[in-house]
């Protein structure tokens, strides 16, 4: 058994619906009065990321097949390129792009191990395209 991989045919997620927040990993100490105090409960913290993609009919079929059969309706983990890092250009601190010896731009690369989030993917029609909104848990 191998871990599934996010279909590369699907586009990058949309900017306006992007939301990322870490899992609650704190334990609040119940103070009767005064400011709250916290401590950590566990070391490895997952991140919940909500995202949406705008796809045509073909992309919808690819996404549906990936969700239904490849990940067994969202119960199996999968690898996904980190949309905020993977493919981004690498710059030096002064803003110069970092180049290889051949003069090519160096690109960042990052991979997430994901599970589909607590809510199932939602679909909406936008013009002649489909907007798939879903959330993923990014495993630590």
């Amino acid at each position: 058994m191998t871990v599934a991989t996010w279909p590369i045919e699907l586009p990058k997620p949309e900017r306006e619906s992007w939301q990322s927040s870490p899992q609650e990993s704190r334990l609040k100490r119940n103070n009767e009065a005064g400011p709250p105090s916290y401590r950590s409960r566990f070391s490895s913290v997952a991140d919940q990321v909500s995202l949406s993609i705008l796809v045509d009919r073909n992309g919808k079929a690819i996404f549906d097949r990936f969700h239904r059969s490849t990940t067994s309706r969202g119960s199996k983990p999968f690898y996904m390129p980190d949309p905020t890092t993977d493919g981004w250009k690498l710059y030096a601190a002064d803003g110069r792009p970092l180049l290889t010896a051949a003069g090519r731009q160096i690109l960042l690369s990052a991979r997430w191990l994901c599970m589909f989030g607590d809510t199932m993917p939602a679909e909406a029609i936008v013009g002649v395209e489909f907007r798939k909104s879903f959330s993923v848990w990014v495993m630590p």
Partner: protein
Amino acid sequence: MRRMSLTARLAQDAQNTSEIYAVLFYIEHSSLDKPILLSTDPTERLQDDPLMYCTRSTWMDVNPVTDPYLFVLASATVPSDIDDVATDTSLVLENVDNDIAKLLRSFTDFATVNIACVLASSPDLIEAEWHGLKLMSAQINAGEVALTISRESIEDEKVPSGLMTKNRFPGVHR
């Protein structure tokens, strides 16, 4: 008084702290090829497929590279220090696999459980430890498995108990 590290004492007194207590379990039994090592903190990812987390510690002279303490979905209490009561602790495992019940019902004698309490940031430094406890009972239902770990009950003497014979007590039969 139990000796604790300065980090642990400071963490307990601090208003906000990032230190995390992890409880390590070292379970041994004659029918096991090697001991079962469990941890309550997912300190680092061990492997992706299947997804497993672990805590690496040198406690009980295990090799942290080859034998990590595997993270289990569990809640644990450390043994109590109440007067006139046997030291008692419980470990509640999420019942995620049928093999848990199969294994727990496969033996009739006591498994030995060693427990240590560490900080996740310093898993090699033992804050408290309890050795040689026995796995007394396992309550299994669909959702969770509750293991009770204690010393062997003093009422459970082997029968026949010792007789006052001349061999055992020569001073009585003068």
